[in-house]
Symmetry: C2
Subunit: 437 residues, 2 copies
């Protein structure tokens, strides 16, 4: 469980006035990390922290020599084009830098002038992946998603017997993870209609998004040394939004017996900003199960996990079609749900992943699996919203969708808010589908 401290105080305001506006994603209580440069500048990418509509250039801040000790070491680590080294420094370093930035950004801070010289407007920057992602693992933590997708792939057997015992996950493809704002071509591949004698080859016809939470590992573990459930906090750096694009028709034909492969590896999208676990401390919530659900095995159960393993994080998906763009219509909200519905907690994912001795490395990435809530409107994929493509979704401008069409952009947003804590946001993860080659 991550403790609250002065950086979470809802009363704090910043001399960066945009940070004090209501419903802004990046108040002084958030302070998420990204890697950025001035758009089109050809500058080196370097670490940054969001405050209001600005980015604090951490390389520039490091160059001021304003801070010393662990904070200076952390700033040095954030000055390169990936955050892996900073992530590897562990929770003490992350927390020290957060505290120092929080104090320096507060109204009345003596460091205002020094920090002000390191600000770059977010409107003028472009992002890269925040770190080198060595291995990417995709989990499957929404029991609502698992049940409704299972019922489409295996009508007789929707939720498999292992689901409520094993935090199901599988290895994903790292190389095709890209940062928000990109475009990608509709994948081609083998598909087989249920009534066809043979498969055929062509562009995917059931292209879908998956609304996920991305989880970045900070400090790693050695091979053969599992991370206990209650130690996971020391290893998880922070969260982002994640779209694990999926080609449902390719998936249906390829996925047995070894799992999804080309149906996933053509593109995945992360939001630029990593919101740290410390920033999310006010939104830790109970991890609960139904009375009828099995008691987790001991390595997946602890008092702390039961008290604070859940995460109260609102998630939204918007669709913007070519027609909406041409008509200057706003993107249409397809779904809203919450990460607190996840059957397995982040700590359980970490403990399970390493219980066999598997080593995690700084910058490794987990997808939470598609987050769908208990009701149909809270489903995190078109596959679920359109009930396997059988019930087209009507859009406000008269268009309909079962799956994604060329020119569609999918925009994911997320935020945390509750009484007594500052609202913090995740920015967005967006990407656009181009026609197949």
């Amino acid at each position: 469980m991550i403790s609250l401290n002065e950086t979470h105080d809802i009363g704090l305001t910043s001399w960066v006035s945009s940070a004090n506006e209501p419903n802004n994603d990046f108040p002084i209580q958030n302070l998420p990390f990204a890697v950025f440069r001035r758009k089109g500048s050809g500058e080196a990418f370097r670490g940054g922290v969001a405050i209001g509509d600005q980015v604090i250039d951490l390389k520039a801040l490091n160059a001021t020599g304003l801070f010393s000790g662990l904070v200076a070491e952390a700033l040095q680590a954030c000055s390169s084009d990936s955050l892996n080294r900073f992530m590897s420094m562990g929770a003490e370093a992350w927390s020290a830098l957060r505290l120092q930035l929080s104090r320096a950004l507060r109204e009345g801070s003596e460091e205002e002038a020094s920090l002000a010289s390191c600000l770059v407007p977010q409107a003028e920057v472009e992002y890269s992946l925040p770190c080198h992602i060595g291995d990417y693992t995709d989990f499957y933590t929404s029991v609502y998603h698992a049940t409704s997708v299972g019922s489409l792939f295996r009508p007789d057997n929707p939720l498999l017997p292992n689901y409520k015992w094993v935090p199901i996950g599988y290895h994903g493809r790292s190389s095709s993870i890209q940062v928000s704002g990109h475009e990608f071509r509709r994948p081609q591949g083998q598909t087989k209609a249920p009534d066809a004698a043979e498969p055929s080859f062509g562009p995917c016809r059931r292209l879908d998004y998956e609304l996920e939470v991305g989880i970045y590992i900070g400090a790693g573990n050695d091979l053969g040394e599992p991370i206990g459930l209650d130690k996971a906090d020391q290893h998880v750096f922070g969260l982002c939004l994640f779209n694990d694009w999926s080609a449902r028709d390719i998936q249906a034909w390829e996925y047995q017996p070894l799992g999804p492969f080309l149906s996933k590896s053509f593109a995945s999208t992360v939001s630029p900003w990593i919101v740290t676990m410390e920033a999310l401390a006010p939104y830790q919530t109970e991890w609960t199960r139904d009375a009828a659900d099995p008691q987790p095995l001991p390595y997946l159960d602890s008092e702390t996990n039961r008290a604070s393993g859940g995460m109260d994080m609102a998630l939204e998906v918007y669709l913007e079609t070519d027609a909406m763009r041409s008509a200057n219509l706003p993107a249409h909200k397809l779904c809203e749900t919450n990460f607190r519905h996840s059957y397995w907690s982040i700590g359980q994912m970490v403990a399970h992943h390493t219980v066999n001795g598997c080593n995690l490395q700084p910058g490794d990435f987990f997808g939470s699996g598609t987050q769908s809530g208990p009701s149909q409107e809270e489903a995190g994929s078109l596959l679920e919203l359109s009930r396997g493509g059988k019930e087209p979704i009507s859009l406000p401008n008269g268009e309909v969708r079962t799956f994604l069409e060329d020119g569609d952009s999918v925009i994911m947003k997320g935020f945390c808010q509750r009484p007594g804590a500052a609202r913090i946001g995740f920015g967005e993860a967006t990407a656009k589908v181009l026609p197949a080659k």
Copy 2:
């Protein structure tokens, strides 16, 4: 198809006399790459090429300034602690360096004195992984393995309908791949006996090896730009031996619906040496299918692939138990088979992997999947040799095995030989099982 040239001439001999001994793995026609340093020296790791019982230190060779142009650039790229940059240079650079080394190592070469100063005995070195492996993909290319394992996991449905259409593969875990010579702890995890009401937690009781060929990608491709079947040669750097250790009891409980996860990610072992595709040119062989097998879809079929997609590479597995070690008995050969039995070719793996636009990067790694031949004795795993643990294997010293026990070492070897070509070997991939923690 990779062409034969003067480097393949069976008549070539080297002034490194150990390279000329029969049945030595590293004659002058081989010239495989690794990353090494003197054992226990604390020196920096750097690239090396095997010749007989020696390693040519490529960093030292680079420092002599003996060569110029592309060869000098290649040597520079091989002087660091990973071969990724050399691999990214592409087939022209790989081939130029091979030709130059072949000439310089031949009997009578004028460069003998210069090269001799760069030799280090293999007996005095230790190896690291030869490159940073970004993504690792495991294929499933032996139809004999797929059928016999399928019959254990799914008696009614051993070979799934997609098998002869789709080169089945899945994403694997990169972080736990280690170089030959390591030890690892028996993994722990969840298992469930068929007749048990609930799963239990403990050390794996069905620990197995998988005899695979490892495939290193050299030059990559951009996201969205598939590699055509007949271009795959330009992207594959070379092959090694690969043991994809597997916890069969963990696998059986966890693998549905998303595939194997913790049953694989605790350890994998590669042999130190990468034998280049150019060295393997004499062993390219026909890629054939039975008349009853389906015609591959066009992106998986070409005349060149049919003529030369197969690889005639002998593979062997040996077991050395604690008792054998104590009694100074030799390791016992459990199986021998050949990579030419693979249902899918290396080119088909590359073409399939990228057909959806997925990007491969220099140093990415494919496992071929367990290579089992048509007969029971040619099975590449204990799961198959012991028919799911039902038929214990008797060892010459009176021990029996169904699965691996603590203290067991598994040694994989491989070589290519045929009339008219020089025999070339792969060295070995070996690792030892330690008790669970």
